[in-house]
Point group: C2
Chain length 503, copies 2
């Protein structure tokens, strides 16, 4: 039974990927710097080996035989077979020497970036970027040739199956047309708001305790996951043991808190994937735009809403009792809501609000596409960055590379083709929230009372439990009743930022 | 060049073992309990795969060709070839299904033991022990047949290459004859000592900070290692990134502190192995009795000495300022030295003093040898344990399995044949310390001033830098001038416990 053999093989692969996920988490969250060189080597060998197993010659026969028996498979098995073939097709497009070389270059580049960014050392970082891009272009060309795709789309397809630049280009164009004047109006309007910044320090331990408390309330399962600290916040690990990270700023609790809730959105998706399929491709999260929709749903749609802050404000006051006593008005629900929805044109993507965020993504999408196409060279990235920042957000980065083209971890880590999924995820999150509001009566009252059970049931049924059974398009249509567009996102922005006083 | 091919192959294996070491550390130190089942599966697959690679058929030809060219190899390469063959011979004795089955059973057994021990649930634990022993006996028989050894010795040889039960039986017999009356005399003598127990609580954070401080002072390299918390203290990770763990008791700082220094002894060995050979078998630590000698050298010979406590006492008083103010006499050097050298017949091995410790080891050695020989069944372990405890230490465990046969992690984790290395390590540590004292003038003054550079230079030259180049016997003879015996250990005990007032 070839299908069964394929399942057994993929269980083995899932087990090895489990070890890879934990070792990667360790590398980012706890490894001392001196262990980095040996770790880069170790991860490269492990990934090379996984790639060898994922491309074993005997799989070709198993696929042929399993597809010949496809009529005997149920819907989940058939979808699993489709996903297995998808992975296999991608894996066999790359020689495993290239996979190992990429892993080694990317782990080293990310490690080097951590200190070089802090030192604003573009010249030190450039050779790393150059090497990572050169290897990624090789991979993109090999994948593109195999899949019949443009090289950049071949990378994109690895993060968001089925996504093509030309398909979402109209959505991005619409945002480009809509956002600049919208941002202008919001910034002007918010100038009239009185916003009181809570004054710290906010001790890291108190921030962490508050984060853990709210994670628990919104449904993170600590029996199967952890919260730790890392340079760049992420959600890693495996569905059975999800590792999210954050970083703390003693002067500002909001960044870490919203970051933790964002990663918790990712984590809830992982923790609620279909349990009986966890070790098979069909049991995995659908793709990164759906993944981002889950983090943005929780952070942007739920946790930055006035209703959520009604629930959260007492917890904040308790966690930061000194600050709240010193300035009670800073911890009023209205003030917290104004803080959570402040729109500002700024340099740093990960700190950006939801209105300016798509501008950061469009910039990166255009630049990384040009890097992969070969029309932009690594050494010209700072100038291109500066030009795009001026155009999109009216800001110049100049030689402040730390807050410019060196600010983000995805490129140092080799994640080219990933950025568009952030904005596709934001559009999806808005569309999902609209559908949830149409389905659950009094949704805001639920949120204000800290009760997320109806929302979770909605998401479990329509998204989480589906794993990768459906395509992204089918999943979105099934969950929201229509294909992805920008309408719900635009309506959400208009309502939140131009609707009531500041709600 | 077959030798070069073997080196490349072993570099690959070392990289995979690096990932295994990190995933194992994670399992013990940070993994949430709910991740355990998936982790057991993942580790089993990884270990099975490492075993497959370690036994690839093509290696036989490479070994034959490399050994034919042995004349062209330098001393390190020749020793490396010998160690590679040793590993290969052991690995090929076991079918990889058995390796995976052992890994799965042992990971699950250890996970189950963590809660079952706390609940004193022998009946719940018995099936795990039975399965682990059954698989271990299969492995021992297969290894024994291949190596021409008794099954138990075949396991022992995996932890301490070249060690045979019959060779150290006379040493163990000598300890059995010497210790009971010695312990009797010491206990009687110490009854006259006035010992003041420092009164806590000793906050965990203060204990941790003190541990980190002393680790740094005695030479732990934090650029290439960490201190964390786990159920059972251990030293894991890889030489480039050594992970030691401890556990804290707010009522007693001494246990954790001495535990940390003990593991630091292991860690210093790993961190000082020959760097250019770290990814080859010859670059690894020689064996577990030398490893234990390093932890016991630091803990027992150095850190429990009066001289070390002269150095450490001010740090202790600073760390536990409230307790030291409340009862200054408890923090005098003499009192701390009496606390650090208290001899008591007790149930728990890991808390035992150095005089009673060998009794715990002899007990476990006799029982595990019988379990592997088949002359003792798993269900009869509690009775056998109770009988041996009465005979060796005059204590009855009865149905207190938690503090009896369920107290230790090695059996739940499948480490049969490991226990003797603790006592061989204690004898080696005493012999090494005697040699160091003969070599370094004024050694005690160095220690009392917190200067470990001469001791480190001694150990680096004679032990750490040697990796696995020499056999254990050659290493001990080279470092101390004679083969291992009990004389230095006995003299150390007599001097410390029957010599001066309490030094």
């Amino acid at each position: 039974m070839s299908y069964a053999a394929l399942e057994a093989h993929h269980k083995r692969l899932a087990n090895l990927r489990h070890t890879e996920a934990i070792v990667s988490w360790d590398e980012a969250a706890v490894m001392p710097a001196g262990g980095g060189e040996a770790r880069a080597d170790a991860l490269a060998t492990l990934r090379g080996l996984i790639h060898e197993l994922a491309t074993e010659a005997r799989l070709a026969d198993w696929f042929a035989a399993a597809e010949a028996q496809a009529g005997t498979l149920d819907a989940w098995q058939a979808a699993n077979l489709r996903e297995m073939r998808r992975e296999w097709t991608r894996a066999t497009a790359l020689p495993h020497e290239l996979v190992e070389a990429q892993s080694r270059a990317e782990t080293r580049s990310e490690q080097a970036w951590r200190t070089l960014r802090a030192e604003n050392d573009w010249q030190g970082y450039l050779p790393h970027l150059r090497e990572v891009v050169a290897l990624k272009r090789q991979a993109a060309q090999a994948l593109g040739a195999k899949l019949g795709l443009e090289p950049y789309d071949a990378l994109l397809d690895g993060y968001e199956p089925g996504a093509r630049s030309r398909d979402f280009a109209p959505l991005f164009a619409r945002l480009r047309a809509f956002l600049p004047s919208f941002i202008e109006r919001v910034v002007e309007r918010q100038q009239r708001d009185v916003v009181i910044a809570p004054r710290g320090p906010f001790p890291v331990e108190a921030q962490r305790a508050l984060g853990l408390r709210l994670m628990k309330q919104v449904g993170f399962d600590f029996e199967r996951g952890r919260l730790d600290t890392s340079h760049h916040p992420f959600c890693g690990g495996v569905p059975q043991d999800v590792r999210i990270t954050t970083r703390y700023d003693a002067a500002d609790f909001q960044k870490s808190l919203m970051g933790v809730l964002h990663e918790t959105g990712h984590a809830k998706y992982e923790q609620n994937l279909p349990r009986s399929w966890l070790q098979q491709p069909v049991g995995a999260a659908r793709g990164m735009s759906i993944h981002e929709s889950q983090s943005l749903f929780l952070e942007m749609q739920v946790c930055r809403s006035h209703a959520f802050l009604v629930f959260a404000a007492p917890h904040l006051r308790e966690a930061f009792a000194d600050a709240a006593r010193a300035e009670p008005a800073a911890f009023s629900v209205d003030n917290l809501a104004r803080l959570a929805t402040r729109v500002r044109r700024s340099y740093i993507r990960v700190d950006a609000d939801e209105a300016t965020y798509p501008c950061h993504v469009v910039l990166r999408f255009e630049l990384e596409k040009a890097l992969i196409d070969g029309s932009l060279r690594a050494e010209d990235v700072p100038d291109a960055w500066d030009a795009a920042m001026r155009e999109l957000l009216g800001l110049s980065t100049g030689s402040n590379h730390r807050d410019g083209c060196m600010q983000d971890v995805p490129w140092p880590a080799g994640l080219f083709g990933y950025f568009p999924t952030y904005t596709l995820g934001a559009l999806t999150a808005a569309q999902l929230f609209r559908a949830a509001r149409d389905t659950i009566s009094d949704l805001e009252a639920h949120i204000a009372s800290g009760d997320f059970s109806a929302l979770d049931a909605f998401m479990r049924e329509r998204v989480w439990s589906q794993g990768s059974r459906l395509s992204t398009g089918e999943l979105i249509r099934g969950a929201t009743g229509k294909p992805l567009d920008t309408a719900a996102f635009e309506a959400h922005l208009a309502e939140r930022y131009l609707g009531g006083a500041s709600a």
